[in-house]
Amino acid sequence: MTFNKTLLASLVGATMTGAALLPMTANAETLRIGYSADPETLDIHEQLSGGMLRFSHLSFDPLVRWTKDFQFEPRLATSWEQVDDTTLRMTLRDDVTFHSGNTFTAEDVVWTIERLKESPDYKAIFEPIASAEAIDDTTVEITTHEPYPILLNLATYIFPMDSEFYSGTTADGDDKAEIVKSGNSFASRNVSGTGPFIVTERRQGVRVDFERFDDYWDTESPGNVDNIVLTPISENASRVAALLSGGVDFIDHVPPNDLERVREADGVNLVEIPGTRIIGFQLNEERIEAFQDPRVRLAVAYAINQEGIAQRLMRGFATPAAQFSPKGYSGHNPELTPRYDVDRALELMAEAGYEDGFEVNMIAPNNRYVNDAQIAQAVANMLARINIDVNLRTMPLAQYWPEYDTRQSDIAMIGWHADTEDSANFFQYLSACINEETGAGQYNYGSYCNEELDALVATADTETDPEKRQEMLREAERMLYEDAGYIPLHWQNLAYAARDGVDAEPILNALDFPYLGDLVIEDAN
């Protein structure tokens, strides 16, 4: 009899310990973040990725940064003027110190730009810049090879590094400034920026601890977060659970399946933002002759129900697209809207002589974009209605890109975010005629080529009058739309969630870089 009781007691005890223990309580000024990934390295020039740019905004400051509505906001640069067609003069703040205690000057900006031009990931983007020169401590002049209208866009990527701190050699004799991919360089382990947060401890893949920088220059910032603990939680369901259970205060990438749950949960708030990453398909004209006929490409565009995918498959978590440029980009052409019309698609197929259709292969990743495999499946079904039979193959990201690079399939899915936050970038990488030497059309899977379109984009790229440039880029979007050179689906939305009291909405933007230095935590738990 006693035996029974002890047995039961131990059973119950083991399972119930949980409920009795105290919940974790948080210090009011500590922000516990659960991001899907942590920064790959501490060297902000080693890799161009979303995670690294988020980190850059924590421990560094850019010269200028984007506002929510795609305007420029002064940061380390207070004002700027175009001296001549190719030279931009920027005035810098004079009250900024680095984490190391060194004073920030124009020399640091020059040093940083020169380092960017050496970085494998950034050198292509910074190619238009010929040189940078420090006129005095607070004035820097940036010269481009040719008139370059989006130099300020690049300035959002210039996060001045502490040139004194990163100069010299380590005990092992390595140059402190060197950029080593996936290597053990000085800059990948040590950091000195001007940003609101100092890295105090870091265990790659486990957590990063930040502390607010006491001498941070931006004393006007409302931000009151003293400490940040960033834990990477790659599993979507676990990240959401961590927020709902109060283990973290703020998460990114809320998956579409959990949006409803997070929206309705007590004590947490969901923030949804239209994103800028275009998801779409490319038709391989090299392999399928039919795709060389604009009518067949148009038929594909007409056959796809973008609204349906965005509404049902993505549960409203996407903005249906009919062009590259999202709203807010200069090239966004409001006249171009999705044109789902199966009858028209069938007519076009018949006109082109393909009413009996044909068979194609399609590839798509299954862990890169939100619901990527399901989207590809839906599109395959839609194409079946105009007699294009699709054999779909989906694969994980690590295998997808090598497969993509071989261009051995007929239709491929790709998502693209313009690193320059500018419309021209889409055309240069996704739809430009392939040119191995210049690198144009590096991701033009379908070998689509329209020289007239390329010429227009090239002209736009040296046009410094913003109005005229906008006109050209909108025209370029229209040309691509009419030629169906790329089959856009939607711009993937962004979703963050934060517990009550963490006022996340004001610091979030379509760029996916939360400005955590300005974050306000209102309550105390």
Partner: protein, 349 residues
């Protein structure tokens, strides 16, 4: 004994050799590590330069021999993602996994022995029937589902409104079945106690133990039913044996018969199976660690696969191979202790 251990050492080396060849052979199918290391707009020429620097363009045998040469000197290569020697990365993640396996093993041992013995002694009691039924369910439920349910109930909390709130019994039932949540749902927490070297422990602080509870239960859930049934079956058989009958006839107390005489003999097959299963548990930690974001080897391995971090994958597989050989060796040693008739001289079986 020495001969036995030497033989096992040879086994370990052979296992590592075979695993390393296989791991190297499949690396091309794991994906392109370069893609994970560069931004999307990096030109092909830069990628090629990086590929060349990492030696990925060399033919298979050149790459393998270079790896093997370094491995003999204890250098298993550099993890692409962690930017550290692969062995260091594994060493840093190992304690978390071992503590998780330890927690799960503790739960299994503490629960399976009493429950197994009880259901063997009283096979027809309702409680035994309940345990047997529950263990079938337990075996069938995948570990990630158990983990998610645990998180929902104990970390997030669950408000039950199944019964009519207006009635006294309904509101009581609702209140009783609802949980507050509050248990940590991810990671190892902040209260780690540094023990030695890479070993930061969850075991020596209240906060640390709290983080260990849910993952351990989840991991234990898959093995516990198996052991309960195994112990019960063995115990039932032993209880029929002559010596137990004789012990009864001698008038020895039934407690002593069950827990001293019978249980000892029950344990032999349990130890064998247990040793193998602890090895298998390493595989299950991958799922458990992913759901609970437990920063151990399992999570590290899964991330390494997603990133095509080949040096880390190869090193991990080899280490796991060694862990299997070591646990099996320990099992054989313990077996010898429990059953002195077993000789370990390593004679061909």
């Amino acid at each position: 004994m020495i001969a036995f251990l030497t033989k096992r050492l040879m086994h370990a080396i052979l296992v590592m050799l075979v695993i390393s060849v296989i791991a190297f052979a499949i690396q091309d199918n794991l994906g392109d590590p370069i893609q994970q290391m560069v931004g999307q707009s990096v030109p092909e020429s830069e990628r090629e330069a990086l590929r060349e620097r990492l030696g990925l363009n060399d033919p298979f045998h050149v790459q393998y021999l270079r790896f093997a040469g370094n491995a003999i000197q204890g250098d298993f290569g550099y993890s692409y993602f962690y930017r550290e020697p692969a062995l260091d990365v594994i060493a840093r993640h190992l304690p978390a996994t071992l503590e998780l396996v330890f927690g799960a093993t503790l739960i299994i041992v503490l629960l399976s022995v009493p429950i197994g013995v009880y259901s063997a002694i009283k096979p027809r009691s309702p409680l035994s029937r309940f345990f047997m039924g529950a263990s079938i369910v337990g075996i069938s439920v995948p570990v990630f589902l158990t983990a998610i349910v645990l998180i929902q109930i104990f970390a997030i909390g669950m408000k039950v409104t199944l019964f009519p709130e207006s009635t006294a019994w309904g509101s009581w039932l609702n209140a009783t079945l609802s949980t507050e949540g509050g248990m940590p749902s991810f990671g190892r927490g902040q209260d780690l106690v540094h023990v030695v070297g890479y070993w930061d422990s969850n075991l020596f602080s209240a906060g640390g133990l709290q983080h260990l509870v849910l993952p351990s239960i989840a991991l234990a859930s898959i093995m516990l039913p198996l052991f309960i049934r195994l112990i019960r079956a063995e115990m039932l058989e032993v209880l029929q044996s002559e010596y137990v009958k004789f012990a009864r006839a001698k008038g020895i107390s039934s407690w002593r018969i069950y827990f001293v005489h019978a249980l000892k003999n029950t344990m032999l097959p349990v130890i064998t199976v247990g040793g193998v299963q602890i090895g298998t548990m390493v595989a299950y930690t991958i799922l458990t660690e992913t759901v609970f974001q437990w920063p151990g080897m399992g999570l590290m391995f899964l991330d390494a696969i997603n990133r095509a971090d080949i040096p880390l994958i190869v090193a991990y597989l080899m280490i796991v191979g060694v862990i299997f050989v070591v646990t099996n060796t320990i099992v054989d040693l313990i077996y010898g202790l429990v059953n002195p008739t077993v000789k370990l001289t390593g004679k061909p079986a």
